[in-house]
Symmetry: C2
Subunit: 282 residues, 2 copies
C-alpha cells in the first residue's frame, strides 16, 4: 500500500520502516556499541546477510540493556527497491538463523521524510510488576517482582499529579543527553489485574530512565513509604537525589510509537496528514 | 487453617501440599533422574538445605523437559511440624539462592491420606500457540510459533468430538507407562485472543504426551490439512502412527490440579467432603 503511495522514483534510496519486537534480556540495549551485542547490531547484521549492505538504523527509542520491545520502530535505507514483505521475511529468516531474540513484525515503504526518531509524535511504554509474596519463575526477566502489597489506587492517584509539562530532572538519569529536562507526560496509568500491576506511560518523548524512575517512585507510593505529596515534592525538587528507587530494566517494554505523516511525499497523490499508530498494546 | 483442621498428633510425620510454578526451559522435566537437573531435584535440594532432610516428592503430573507449570502440586512429609508459611518462604529463599526457575506458590498442611498424584480428581493443562507470520521473540520458549493461519473455530469444533471416554492410544507416547489407554477427556477448548491461540484440556488424568499429541493434531485441523473427520479417524485408529505432529513441549503448561478431600482426618471436626481447586487459570 505505502509502496504504491510512495513509489521510489530512482533518485533516492528507498526507505523502510521496521516494526520490531525483542526480548531485551541477552542484549546490551538497542544501540550499537563496541562492547556487547545489541539489538541494532543484530538487525544490521541480518540486513548485511540479506542484501550485502552496510547500513545504520535509526530508532524511535534507544532502550537500555534488558528492556524489551513489543513495537520498537526503526528506519533504514536500502539501495534496492525490495518488496516490504520480502524484507520482513528475509530479515526474520536471518535473525532466526543467528539465534537472535529479535523479530521484525512489519515492514513498510515510507517517504524519505520519515525518521523513526524525529517523526515520532508519541511513545508508549508499559512497566510490568508481579506483586505477590512468592518470587517469580515464568515471569523472570519479564517483570519486576515486588513482594510487598501495592496500593494501586494510591499509585494511580499520585501518578495523575505528574501529568502535563514539567521539569523532570528528578526522574532523569545522570547520563541523559536530552537538551532540556522539560517534557510533557500525557499518560501515567496504574492498573492491577490479579498479581500483575501495569504502569502505562505515554509522551511525545521521554528522558533517559524516566519511565523506570517513575515506576520506582510509584512503587514507593504503592508500599506506603511515600504519599502522593511526597511524589510531587520529588518532582518539584528537580534533583536526581530526590528520585525513589529506579525500577529494574526487565519490567519495561516499549509498546508503541505514533507517527503523523504530513506531506508524505512530493509524488504522493494526497497531501493530507494522516496519523497512524504502531502499537502492540493500547 | 488446614494446620488447625489437621493437627499433627505426633504419631506421623506432618504432610505438606506444595503448589509450584516453574519455567520448564532449563530442566530435564519434573522427575529426578541421573542425567540432567530436574524440578523435583531442585525442590528436594532446597528442602535439604532448609531442614537437612533427604525427602522424595510425589507430584500430580510428571511434566516433560521444557514443559512449564503455573500450579503443579506435590506432597512431602517432613519430620518437624513447621508452619506452612515458613516452609514456603524458606524454600523460596533457597530456590532463589540456587538460581532455580522454580517457585513455591503455596504450602498447606494436609492429612496423611492426601497424595498429590492419586488424590487428584482433575488435571488442567493449557497449550499456548502464537499464530502469526513473524517468528516470536518475547514468547520464545513460552509458546509454539505456528506461522500458517489457524482456523480456530474448526479446531474447537473438531476438539469437541474427542470429549468423553475413549481409547487414546493414537495420542499416547510409545513410552507411556499407564496401564490402560482409556481416558475420559472432560474439556478440550480452543480459543483465540489476537495472535494467541489457547487450547485448554481437562481430565482426571492424561496419558504421556496426550495433550501435546492432541495440540499437534488440532494444528493439522487448524491449517486445513485435516478435517474433523480425519481427527476422529485418527482417534479410532488406536494407532500411534495415526497421530499428527506432536506439539513441542515449550507451549505446554500444567495450570491446575483439583482434589476432593473426603474424610480429611480422623481428628477433623468435619467429615464432609470438600472440593477445592489449585488452579492458576480457569
Amino acid at each position: 500500500m505505502l509502496a504504491q503511495r510512495f513509489p521510489w522514483d530512482g533518485t533516492n534510496m528507498p526507505r523502510y520502516k521496521l516494526t520490531i519486537e525483542y526480548d531485551g534480556t541477552p542484549y546490551a540495549g538497542w544501540q550499537r556499541q563496541e562492547n556487547g551485542h545489541t539489538v541494532q547490531a543484530a538487525i544490521e547484521q541480518a540486513i548485511g546477510k540479506f542484501c550485502g549492505e552496510d547500513v545504520t538504523l535509526g530508532a524511535a527509542g534507544r532502550t537500555d540493556a534488558g528492556v524489551h520491545a513489543l513495537a520498537q520502530v526503526a528506519h533504514v535505507d536500502l539501495t534496492k527497491d525490495w518488496g516490504a514483505a520480502k524484507v520482513r521475511d528475509a530479515l526474520n529468516a536471518h535473525l532466526v538463523m543467528a539465534d537472535e531474540r529479535v523479530v521484525i513484525l512489519n515492514v513498510e515503504r515510507v517517504p524519505d521524510s520519515f525518521d523513526a526518531r524525529f517523526s515520532a509524535t508519541a511513545r508508549h511504554y508499559l512497566y510490568r510488576i508481579v506483586n505477590r509474596r512468592p518470587p517469580i519463575a515464568i515471569e523472570m526477566n519479564r517483570a519486576w517482582w515486588v513482594s510487598k502489597p501495592l496500593d494501586v489506587e494510591a499509585m494511580h492517584a499520585a501518578a495523575q499529579r505528574l501529568l502535563g509539562k514539567h521539569d523532570f530532572t528528578t526522574f532523569r538519569a545522570s547520563q541523559c543527553q536530552a537538551k532540556s529536562p522539560v517534557k510533557t507526560l500525557d499518560r501515567l496509568d496504574v492498573t492491577r489485574n490479579g498479581e500483575l500491576v501495569e504502569i502505562r506511560a505515554s509522551a511525545r518523548s521521554f528522558l533517559h530512565n524516566q519511565v523506570r524512575s517513575l515506576a520506582g517512585s510509584l512503587m514507593e507510593v504503592g508500599v506506603g513509604r511515600w504519599t502522593g505529596d511526597d511524589l510531587v515534592a520529588a518532582l518539584e525538587a528537580r534533583d536526581r537525589a530526590a528520585c525513589g528507587q529506579v525500577a529494574p530494566p526487565y519490567g519495561l517494554y516499549l509498546i508503541g510509537v505514533d507517527y503523523e505523516l504530513v506531506q508524505c511525499s512530493p509524488s504522493s497523490s494526497s497531501g493530507l496528514s494522516r496519523g497512524f499508530t504502531t502499537r502492540a498494546i493500547s
